[in-house]
Amino acid sequence: MRPLYAGFMRGVERFGSRPALEAAGRTLTYAELGEQAGAIAATLQREDPPDPQLTAVFAYRTPVAFAGVQGALMAARGYVPLDRTYPVDRTRRMLERVGCSSIVCDTASAEQLPEVLAGLEGARLVLAPDHPDPAALAARLPGHRVLGAGDLAPATAWTAPDVEPDALAYVLFTSGSTGTPKGAMVTNANLRHYADRMAERYAPAEDDRFSQVNELAFDISVYELFVAWEGASCLCCPSRRTLIKPGRWIREAQLTQWFSVPSTAVFMRRLGELKPGSYPTLRHSQFGGERFPLDVALAWLEAAPNGVLECVYGPTETTVVCSQHVFDPITSPPLCEGGILPIGDPVPGLGLVVVDDELHEVAAGAVGELIVGGPQVSRGYIGDPERTARSFVVPPGRNAVHYRTGDRVRRPVADGPFVFVGRVDDQIQVFGERIELGEVEDALRRASGIDAVAAIGWPMGPAGPTGVEGFVGSEQIDVDELRAKLRGTLLGHMVPRRIHALAELPRNANGKIDRRELANRLEATS
């Protein structure tokens, strides 16, 4: 198998003076980024025991983030992205779960390291390539080893390793219903298959300029990094603020490839940024991670008239994307259900099957749960055989493991597309970020001491719920104090916008808390 680092290394060897990355106000050529990644890789090879084969990358929108990902892979390690904008407590739990002995960090993220590592067992090797004062950082991390730029092995010391197809490429954490995030283990073979299919489809080249708008902890970033690097293209990473209103940046950076959640396009349209002909340089635009409304797709196609527009679909567990729909303004609208684009046809090589409760395929045109088989099915959740067994199953009559997506999908009729209908369980998506309402409820329960709690996705926007609202079954609760507590334990987008203290929560016939009734009440009072 061709190692994942081979695409990037081809860029270093053949297009060394071309831009590889624009981030944090700097442009790095393939040679420069290759030098940084090579030094990280050579140092990991020299200093870090090869097992367990994961390296954490704790960096945010800086060159170190990208050199760290590439450096880990060049040392035959998978990467685990950590994010300093997440609660420290969550970062610590993720690190504890994956148990990696090495961390590559940028200066701003390093500030959190003493707190992140507090209470964790084992010494870590910390690579801080852009830190101005590694000795000061080391003094704050007793028991761990800190290496600054001057302590790293030279890139020339790197030796290209063989990589096992089953070795992990990355571990990405998704929201889990019991309060513990689930770490999906994606292998080199998984990502190789995905990157190859996408490189065939999009033919990235050295004059392509990819948007890099998604956080490394969100798997659309995997497309951005690896498909751009396959083509020796340039990755363009804007600041968080630029992303609030990215129109001018798309023009000035002359982007040719775009991939984001549909909510970004919804925002842009609202801000007057989807005027016809606004983005003539875009050659490919993809949207995925949540429902893609037809009217937004039509507006985007007018704004980027020289490019192809696609609606794509895929859970993290099946490696970024497993189906794609090329949008056509004439033929696509009749295929939409409820004003939402279909999720399209399988990525070549993958098996998408719509099944009933017993995992038998439903009739054409019927709705069931989507299960996915094939070379992109990941190895399950790290350190969590129970939840892995629940979601990764061999359906009756088949001989390969399929991932149960929990998504309700309509099976195509004839050569039509797959159509997303809704979620099987209580998982919702807010702006592309997956939220298990159970995880929010678990946090509400623990923070309030009240058993009867509920969380619902509300209000509904054109692309699904745009927020979370919480309920506690006690009027004695100080909701402001409760929200403050939740901010310390939940990711920002999971903290309920409002918490309602009710004497009693409505229940349905089965005695379960009636979320629909709660939504009705919010609707009635808004």
């Binding site: 603020r241 609030i244 209103k245 990215p246 001018r248 925002f267 609202r270 801000l271 702006f431 927020g467």
Partner: protein, 92 residues
């Protein structure tokens, strides 16, 4: 009557009273260069809500295309942009 940017500012602070308080900020004392995003007062969705509120309150539709991302999140810049747009829409 001429709309002043201070009128817009007052409206913004009033509609953001709750998140401002959550962030420990006193509406009477926030500077014009306060960045609402950096200060954690609003997120991208909050900006859309704010815009919808501003348009409804002042009874105009505003095209924000020409405004820099910074202008969208910095209190004073946002207020003066909105004031000018509202004034223009009212034909004054």
């Amino acid at each position: 009557m001429t709309l002043q940017s201070s009128d817009v500012r007052d409206y913004v602070l009033l509609s953001l009273a709750e998140p401002l308080a959550d962030s420990g900020l006193d509406p009477a004392a926030v500077p014009d260069d306060l960045d609402l995003l950096d200060a954690g007062v609003i997120d991208s969705f909050g900006i859309l809500e704010l815009i919808a509120g501003v348009e409804e309150h002042f009874g105009v539709e505003i095209d924000f295309d020409e405004l820099d991302p910074e202008g969208l999140t910095v209190l004073g810049t946002f207020a003066s942009f909105v004031a000018i747009e509202v004034q223009a829409a009212r034909g004054g």
